[in-house]
């Protein structure tokens, strides 16, 4: 596959406040580099991420969406990420069923201590999306960048 180096994917990352957002902060504190394409939206818990938000991101021009939360069992709210896991599994499965590229969506568990993991996950995710090229299967033509 031809990889367009000039293509700068827009990546939206939803991070839970307690683990993954803190993990992202830690990767900053440790000066671990990951691509600037990744823009983080802070949510209290990964279970706050509504499938609406994910579709909205793709509609408005995101090329990839990643959700990060506490490791299962470590949710600040006890059970939030368990619900996230089911919801997002089913949603991603549906997107796959509709023929949307699998690698545009991802869910990762990143704890507050895993700054290095956060950076490497983002690095890899951006590179996967970079390879896929711009989001065409789930885009809203009206929102295409001019």
């Amino acid at each position: 596959m031809q990889v367009n180096e000039n293509f700068k994917p827009v990546i939206v990352a939803f991070c839970c406040n307690w683990c993954s957002y803190a993990g992202a902060d830690l990767s900053g504190t440790n000066r671990l580099n990951y691509p600037a394409n990744v823009k983080i939206i802070r949510v209290p818990c990964s279970c706050r991420v509504n499938p609406m938000f994910i579709l909205r991101a793709f509609q408005k021009g995101a090329d990839g969406v990643i959700i990060c939360g506490c490791h299962p069992g470590d949710c600040h709210y006890t059970s939030g990420n368990y619900f996230t896991r089911r919801r997002i599994t089913l949603l991603y499965s549906m997107l796959d069923f509709l023929g949307i590229e699998r690698k545009r969506t991802r869910l990762e568990w990143v704890s507050a201590a895993e700054g290095a993991k956060f950076a490497s996950v983002m690095e890899q995710f951006v590179s996967d999306v970079q390879k896929l090229g711009p989001n065409r299967r789930l885009e809203d033509l009206r929102c295409r960048k001019q």
Binding site: W18, A22, D25, N33, I41, P44, C45, Y77
Partner: protein, 663 residues
Amino acid sequence: MQRIGVFVCHCGTNIAATVDVKAVAEALGHEAGVVISQDYQYMCSESGQNLVKNAIKEHKLTGVVVCSCSPRMHENTFRKAAASAGLNPYLVEIANIREQCSWIHKDIASATEKAIILGRAAIAKVHLNTPLTSMESPVVKRALVIGGGIAGIQTALDIAEAGFEVDIVEKEPTIGGKMAQIDKTFPTLDCAACILTPKMVEASQNEKITIHSFSEVSDVKGFVGNFTVTIKKKARYVDETKCTGCGLCTEKCPMKKVPNEFNMGLDNRRAVYIPFAQAVPKVATIDPNYCMMLKNGKCGVCSKVCSAGAIDYKQTDRFVEQKYGAIVVATGFNPIKLDKYDEFAYSYCPDVVTSLELERLMNAAGPNGGTLLRPSDKTHPHTIVFVQCVGSRCDDGKGKQYCSKICCMYTAKHAMLIREKYPDTEVYVFYIDVRTPGKNFDEFYRRAVEQYNVHYIKGMVGKVSPKADGKIDVQASDLLAGEQLHINADMVVLAAAIEPDKTARPLATMLTTQMDTNDFFTEAHPKLRPVESATAGIFLSGACQGPKDIPETVAQASAAAAKAIGLLCKNSITCNPCVAHSDELMCNGCSACEKVCPYGAITYQDKEFRMPNRTTAVRRVASVNPAVCQGCGACTVACPSGAMDLNGFSNSQIMAEVDAICK
């Protein structure tokens, strides 16, 4: 019309070095609704905060966006500043352009571009922010301390001293923890038992303190100020209230071959036992794995000899539920298992011991009554080799990456004590580095080298091989001399790494606190909030947070107590106003939200609604108890109609952020 102020922080050069802060302020100044956009060197400083406060007053701001470090750092600072200037604190949003931008990107152009986008997202969000008011929630004036080692005891004593009820939950039959097993303490070489046991007694006698020994926390519900904890009191088959601790049963019990865990399995105890003489509570416990009465119903000797009638073979686990305002975790540590270190022959050579085993071997209450003898043949060892960093500072995946911190000092202590008591014994210590920061620590170590002639050798022990003559061949390298050594030793002592107690991980799950990858509890901030967990109302005491020696442990235990007391002193606490709320007009009453709420914050009521053409209808609708809701947002996604939304993180706010980022 919104009037938004944007404040871009340089953070010295932390941000300004990779983000063109002027350009960010300029670009964000053009955003719709923004009436002022400024940059400043240190926005969190007093003068920086004044800048924000003055702008709020001068420009009658309706919203504030601060582009600075993580909101986890200074969101509160700026919220307070806004509040003091008369702006609702929840009309402040932070764009994280330090941890999530300047610190991770090297290219100024892309970092600046990203900072602008993050700023735009925050502006888009703040457009939709609504003023929020915090509710008050009462504080239960009772604390729970989980773990009855020196950390837990100290915390409990301090909290009790301040006048609050404290419960200690200890999983072993007695409090005391690891310190009770230690012989002497560094750097003063005073007897551990002599300083610990009075504290144990004090705890047991303090009327504010309740000790739940041989107990575990089995469930935690609730939130800061109002936790409900279920404590499992494990069956000890002895009625605590009747047992006088006379010890007769422990002498008469015919089952004599039970490895004594207090002495690290170096000798045996009975099936009914009291771990050590100064145990608190001094109550016997029957070990159901060995008791013949419990196993096959044949024996009953203890019951016969007990004049107090305390033996109860039918006892079962009991569960006690109690409410607490604060919880302190003091679950401590354990030496790691050395089964992966076969090169040191630990698993098959009895004369290769861990440091904690050596403590027991040297202790007057230990298996040899305080005389240092080889476990194998009970002879006096003449050459002892200490191996440092067994499982600490390990990159090979077998052990721990971190430094266990206490080993250098206790090894110096052991070496010194041996040389003092048995001057004919040669002591070798193999080390990577000797780390002795701490008051009087380095002096202590130098005494071991200079005064007691302990042979400190920088180098690694490669192989420990027991020989046929009972001696042990220690093959090692001397890095400074650059040579291979063979030492013909009588004993080898391994400074095993320490790790958090295994009970910590499930406990963290129950407490919804964070742990690091090594299972140490994560503090809310490594420097500024070292004894608090990120979960409000949960405090950290002792080695559960990281390796610590006794002085540090006690210091942190008191610090955690101070934090807990600070909380318990309040009659009520301010709740997070970022809670869920349901729009009754849209609610279907379907109960989906209730099913996913971890706090039981959602209830239903039948309510009458005005319907078209002057009719009314009764519908079942959800309502959220804002004092109980913790604001996770699980319900907002479970709700198909979108009736349920979350203050501070509303659907529209998050989508506005999404839009701004994807723009």
